[in-house]
Amino acid sequence: MREVRIAAVGDVHLDESLRGRYRERLDGVEEHADVLLLAGDLTRHGTLEEGRVVADEFRGLPIPVVAVLGNHDHHSDLPAEIAALLSGAGITVLHDDATVLDIDGVRLGVAGGKGFGGGYAGKCASDFGEPEIKAFVGHTKRIADRWRVALKELQADRRVVLSHYSPVKDTLHGEPLEIYPFLGSYLLAEVVDAEGADLIVHGHAHAGTEKGVTPGGIRVRNVALPVLGRAYGVYCL
């Protein structure tokens, strides 16, 4: 079975002032990769104007594009509208579900969504106490549950999880320890370890590092643009 080449980047934070600037970096992307994954924070403020810039920058590429939204894309309370703009440009947007792409006969399954925070095993928030804390932790728990279902049902030759928030601490090195609970949650890694995947990509942690691994041994890559310092990373499975 042939190798599948996955290009990935997150946190591009596009707005009108950057129109056209990302697109020029994607020239020839099809020579480097079979699919492009966008790991959230595609806009700065989550406005429709910015959503249109994102849609235009990634529209009509010669390879399929799969995206999740990030916290910035939620800031104006218009995530569904932004997702619709992206879908209208031919981009598949995951909301705690999965898609299967046919790459020259190889079925590449991509599952995931925004993810959320809470912290990492032994140093995390619990579903206990005030309703505000329960709501915070409950949001991540519900997301993890949906990922479990999506992965369980995913029939593919290669499996990639696409997230905005980080499932592990490994890729956060360089970020202040105090904000780890806002950068991701171990609950996201736990379900992926249980259901299996070949790679997890995420963004969100601009000051983190690229490479990590889950407790179960699944490779994790932080593809936030400031971490990569290049237009996108390419990972071959």
Partner: protein, 81 residues
């Protein structure tokens, strides 16, 4: 005199919450009469805007804008997993 930690925290919040910036990734340090901004952004215009918002949130301090503009290279080498 207001404690420098509170001034830095106010500036950091302003950068995150001000509609002009919504910037979460800039480090803010107050030393004496100076306000230091450090981090990476995507362009010169944004770099200047962040300094404006920070200056408004901390009037009287001299803003030292040490933010750099990120250079994005080509895709680079692929990694085989």
């Amino acid at each position: 005199m207001e404690a420098p930690q509170y001034v830095a925290a106010r500036v950091q919040r302003a950068l995150a919450e001000d509609e002009r910036t919504n910037e979460l990734g800039i480090r803010v340090d107050v030393r004496g009469e100076q306000l230091f901004l450090r981090g990476q952004v995507s362009g010169d215009e944004r770099r200047a805007l962040i300094a404006d918002v920070a200056g408004e949130a901390a009037p009287g301090l001299t803003v030292r804008n040490e933010i750099t503009v990120m250079e994005v290279r080509g895709p680079g080498r692929e990694e085989r997993l």
